[in-house]
């Protein structure tokens, strides 16, 4: 699920606030003025030692539903990460650990045996059984549910023992275990959910989960409260914060609330407010790894059919400039279409591949004069398209900067570009309907994946994939991705992914621009929660406390 960035409004508000409400010296982490290339990423914050009775937290919007099967939004996930648990748990360093499953074993490459942890109870005190697990997974798998795509390769889910569940596959699936650390692995109490029927996940209904926090109340339109669950099954390290009260705000309202102390913290996706808050007295900003990256996705209109033209455009793009002016310096020039938050294993290998691509001139942070000459040569060789290249923009701040950068780069190398701005609702349709993309040659997209594995992105380049707008078809590439999807061994899979990644880059199927870290802002007396994008899946509030 992608949240709408309202950076334009936030940027305007930020500018107003700068002129109206800035006083005192900056004690923030100075992200706003940081050189994009030197943005320090930390996945964790210093450990908390003191208890906090009640913390006020902000999310971007009121969740539509607290039933993530029905509606997975960033806000809903940020709340429920503390309330609901999954069979596996994504850690702040993006690795995966067993959680409600104590063990998972492939008996052959199409059979996964899950051993359930003993002594786990739901918030109504009833024990978690194998039946609850089977029922929950089958619910996620229903076609209209938001995580159903994670179950495409699953054949059957059956109870094979008192605390054992077996999943069989139509074909091997390396990503299934990773998906079980996300929303596709949430375990709910069957009885509670069935009793509530259509009302499950609406205000006034109790949750049906096992996590360290319990849903206390949801006052429709104003706030959601969660409280520490005193009978939590895992008493090894009790949560420090007793109550968390969630409210919602974006743009200037968010900046005002955090800077006046009305809110103690927030995870941000929009860089505008983040840049303003990083400079505020009494507020600290932390930047963590996310999987979000902005890229240009070419369509099959024909204008950019020639790989040489896409390469030329990529060569001439000033990614450094885009990071500075489109994202207030809170983004990094990036050579692949997914952020470093996707590297949940074999980090060193992925890091090296990324650096190699950055050095390969087509994906450099800023173009040298040689790059421009080379790009011109490529355009001459391939021949510029007869009509100007049409780039779509949704009118947001980041998109406006990106599309202008594209226009600038194109002008330098003898290509003509026109920018066509569409309303956000129409922009969203690009992702659903090929007809909506007619008349556009290039579309700027911010893409993120929910699993810490780049394979989760690269299937978009396979022939016939709904997100392969260019119509890129390379049987060698398809075979590599397919094999990676079926390779359960991490080291082996990383090799295959990196090979596919370089094919994808060579063909310039997408033109990567920048990666955007996740941002955590915290009042300065608090510390503890992770800064990386695991805040959507990991009980971050349990780590939150005072500096003591």
């Amino acid at each position: 699920m992608r949240t709408k960035l309202c950076t334009a409004a936030a940027g305007l508000a930020g500018a107003l606030l700068f002129t109206a409400g800035c006083s005192g010296a900056s004690t923030g982490t100075g992200g706003a003025t940081a050189d994009a290339a030197e943005l320090k990423l930390t996945n964790t914050t210093a450990k908390a030692s003191g208890e906090a009775a009640s913390v006020n937290w902000l999310v971007e919007q009121e969740p539509g539903s607290l039933d993530l099967d029905r509606q997975g939004t960033t806000s809903g996930r940020t709340v429920l990460a503390n309330v609901c648990e999954r069979l596996f748990q994504l850690q702040p360093d993006l690795t995966t650990q067993p959680q409600l499953a104590s063990k998972a074993e492939y008996t052959d490459d199409r059979t996964l045996v899950l051993t359930l942890r003993d002594g786990v109870t739901f918030h109504d005190g009833s024990p978690m059984t194998a039946d609850d697990v089977v029922w929950s997974l089958q619910r996620h798998a229903q076609p209209e549910m938001s995580e159903s795509d994670e179950y495409e390769d699953v054949d059957e889910i059956t109870k094979t023992g008192a605390s054992e569940v077996t999943v069989t596959f139509k074909e091997p699936s390396a990503l299934f275990m990773k998906a079980l650390a996300g929303d596709a692995g949430i375990i709910m109490d069957r009885e509670t959910v069935e009793k509530q029927g259509d009302d499950y996940g609406t205000p006034g209904q109790p949750d049906a989960c096992t996590g360290p926090y319990r849903l206390k109340s949801w006052d429709s339109g104003s706030s959601i409260a969660i409280e520490r669950y005193e009978d939590y099954w895992d008493d090894s390290s009790p949560a420090l914060t007793k109550n968390v009260l969630f409210r919602w705000a974006t743009g200037s309202a968010l900046v005002n609330a955090v800077s006046t102390g009305a809110a103690d913290g927030s995870y941000l996706t929009a860089t505008g407010p983040a840049a303003v808050l990083a400079e505020k007295k009494g507020v600290r900003a932390y930047y963590g790894q996310s999987t979000t990256a902005w890229s240009l996705s070419p369509t099959d209109s024909g204008a950019l059919k020639d790989t040489r033209l896409r390469k030329a455009l990529s060569l001439a793009l000033d990614r450094e400039g885009i990071a500075k002016s489109g994202f207030s310096g809170l983004a990094q020039p990036w050579a692949t279409p997914v952020g470093p938050g996707a590297w949940g294993y074999e980090k060193a290998a992925f890091q090296k591949a990324q650096t190699d691509l950055e050095k390969s001139t087509a994906y450099a942070a800023s173009p040298s004069s040689d790059d421009i000459d080379e790009a011109k040569r490529l355009v001459e060789e391939a021949g510029a398209p007869a009509q100007p290249i049409v780039v779509a923009s949704d009118g947001g701040e980041s998109q406006t900067v990106i599309t202008n950068a594209v226009r600038g780069a194109a002008q330098k190398i003898g290509l003509e570009v026109t920018v066509k701005t569409v309303p956000p609702s129409q922009y969203d349709e690009f992702f659903a309907d090929p007809k909506a993309r007619e008349g556009f040659d290039l579309i700027a997209v911010d893409w993120y994946i929910s699993k810490a594995d780049p394979v989760g992105f690269y299937d978009n380049g396979m022939s016939g994939s709904a997100n392969n707008w260019l119509g890129y078809a390379d049987s060698g590439y398809d075979a590599l991705v397919k094999k990676a999807q079926q390779t359960i061994d991490d080291k082996e899979r990383a090799k295959l992914v990196i090979e596919a990644q370089s094919k994808f880059a060579d063909a310039a199927v997408w033109i990567p621009l920048v990666q955007v870290p996740s941002v955590l802002v915290l009042g300065e007396k608090y510390t503890g929660p992770p800064a990386s994008m695991v805040s959507l899946y990991y009980p971050w509030a349990a780590d939150l406390g005072t500096k003591g």
Partner: protein, 316 residues
């Protein structure tokens, strides 16, 4: 007094029916596909899933069928479930209506006190006071409410810290504290019109014959103003206050959004952007009802204040 009531109720129902169809068609015709928003993440926008979502929400049916379904169900008191929030529409609105009503009531207190007060002042003290009032209120009315909102927040909320910057507060005192700035921002635009109507009505009342007669009878200026001038001027003032307040019921959107208040105005904005048919319909119709009810009340009250006016609107 109540003779015209059945006719009014029939008129209200006809208005609602026409408005509901216009609103439904407008939301239907707006760009964007509600199914895309309902289907969730971009990774999952497969044609099969979109089809499943369209079927689930009846989006694959023609407009008239969808409208008919909505009309039939709402006539039985079932406003349906929101697309965006999977909650019952009635619950959603019920949770947000108090905030909006309190905001409008508070703003009404502001503009009545300040507007009528400044209008009376301008009528009584001709000369520079009069010019200052007219100039000041005109200036206030020309500031767009979102600009006023941002300015008020950054001065009184962020800089001075006197007022909270977001949310609607708890308890009566908390509510009052939280809603002061938004209510003031909302009232600002109405000051000029109320002040001007008051001033004009007072001036006309002053010029009437019986004020002259009262003067000749030796009444003090104070008695004349209270008993004759204000009383005669009250009709147009009350009418105008009622109309402005009715308009405000549908005009809280901007202020609610700027102050992070969750009332029906901000609910409407998010419902429109997400093509949430059931919520858009219910909120807009509620605003229509509110407007019609308030203006009807003003019509009914007017003859009580001003005996020269009868319900038929003919001079007696």
């Amino acid at each position: 007094m109540l003779r015209g009531l059945p006719r009014r109720i029939a008129g209200l129902l006809a208005t609602l029916l026409a408005a509901s169809f216009v609103i439904f068609s407008a939301v239907y015709a707006a760009p964007g596909d509600p199914a895309v928003l309902l289907a969730g993440s971009r990774q999952e926008l497969t044609p099969e899933k979109l089809a499943a979502v369209r079927a689930e929400y009846h989006l694959d049916e023609p407009l008239v069928v969808q409208y008919g379904r909505w009309l039939w169900e709402s006539a039985q008191g079932d406003l349906g479930r929101s697309f965006q929030y999977r909650d019952q529409v009635a619950d959603l609105i019920g949770a947000r209506l108090p905030t909006t009503l309190e905001l409008v009531a508070y703003a009404t207190v502001f503009f009545v006190v300040l507007g009528v007060g400044s209008g009376v002042l301008a009528a009584l003290r001709r000369g520079w006071v009069d010019s200052a009032v007219v100039g000041g209120t005109t200036l206030a009315a020309s500031i767009p409410s979102f600009v006023a909102a941002i300015a008020l927040v950054s001065l009184f909320g962020v800089q001075l810290g006197w007022f909270p910057v977001t949310g609607q507060g708890e308890g009566f005192a908390g509510r009052l504290h939280h809603l002061t700035l938004p209510a003031f921002a909302l009232a600002l635009g109405a000051l000029a019109v109320i002040s001007r109507v008051t001033r004009q009505a007072m001036a006309e009342a002053y010029a009437s014959d019986h004020v002259e007669a009262a003067r000749a009878a030796g009444l003090t200026e104070r008695e004349i103003v209270l008993r004759h001038v204000l009383r005669n001027a009250l009709g147009p003032i009350v009418t105008m206050c009622g109309l402005v307040m009715a308009g405000m019921l549908a005009g809280t959107v901007v202020v609610e959004t700027a102050f992070g208040l969750s009332g029906v105005g901000s609910l409407l904005v998010s419902a429109i952007t997400t093509h949430d048919f059931p919520v858009t319909q219910a909120v807009l119709l509620l605003m229509v009802i509110g407007y019609v009810v308030v203006t009807t009340l003003v019509d009914l009250v007017h003859p009580l204040i001003d005996p020269r006016v009868s319900l038929g609107g003919k001079a007696a």
